[in-house]
Symmetry: C2
Subunit: 177 residues, 2 copies
């Protein structure tokens, strides 16, 4: 039923790896969302949005740039920022530099929210992921995810835009001074 009779399916090792990966992709986000929802009333995505703003000098970013850093569509971000704005954690203002960009700004209340929320979230990430891995495991994870990311987002891994991982490479902890 197609021109793919050469490398069909997956061998046993791949199959095993894939099933586990699929299970992790199902269960891990659910677990992290559960913690954030319970303790902070936030989605993983909305927390990430706040956290990324909190790490940015000036605590402001154009919507497009923010969308790129949190790997989302502009539409999704727009909806989410609208909700965050209603909560008083973010404001939106037209950019002085260009009439068509909107910059999102983290308010003081938003900063405070991130400060409150970050420790619990980091603890959960540690508990679910890093407590299960030794140093070699952490290295493996970094290596494998980097390889996969390269295929998922060929531009993202190597891009030269002003907000890429190259420009301000993963400098500090989520939302810490």
């Amino acid at each position: 039923m197609g021109p793919m009779d050469e490398t069909p399916w997956l061998d046993d090792a791949e199959q095993r790896a894939w099933r586990r990966t699929a299970a992790v992709m199902t269960l891990l986000p659910a677990a992290l969302d559960a913690q954030l929802q319970r303790d902070a009333g936030l989605t993983q995505f909305s927390y990430l949005t706040l956290a990324m703003l909190s790490e940015t000098p000036g605590r402001t970013l154009p919507m497009s740039a923010l969308a790129a850093t949190v790997n989302s569509s502009l539409s999704r971000l727009s909806h989410v920022v609208a909700r965050l704005e209603q909560q008083g954690w973010v404001t939106r203002e037209p950019s002085p530099e260009s009439g068509r960009v909107t910059v999102a700004r983290l308010t003081d209340a938003g900063m405070e929210k991130v400060r409150e929320t970050a420790p619990g979230h980091a603890a959960e990430v540690r508990r679910l992921i890093f407590d299960a891995l030794d140093d070699e495991g952490v290295a493996s994870l970094a290596c494998v995810t980097a390889a996969i990311l390269g295929r998922l987002d060929p531009a993202g891994g190597m891009r030269a835009n002003p907000l890429s991982r190259e420009a301000h490479p993963v400098d500090d902890r989520p939302a810490t001074g």
Copy 2:
């Protein structure tokens, strides 16, 4: 601001690994969903549901058992199976063995749907994951995901129920005769 001053945050290596993992968890499901949606009008989750049924002898499973194999809540599964039933790919019938279990059965049309869909999906999984990894990478991935799964689903990794990975260990390709 809390009693967690002992193992706070994440160190640099962990931070790097976590950011990449988070990005993969965002982008990879989106990419796989996109392929399935485009080529088959299915969600990753609804495809998985059909595929798991297709691999079961008799092509039937109680809802609870099916929910366990696809790592979902019964509620979610119930909604999804309702949609699959409307499409004619699955039917639901009360179990003869117990008045309170419902068994889901994959119809011939459903089986055909899986046969049509599986190759393209497998190809995408291969393209996005395994083409990026050598044998050692695959081994790392299996190992790391197994460790994480152990924390996420302590019962799931070791359970002895009739549908666990131990009982019919990843025998064949997704939905192939």
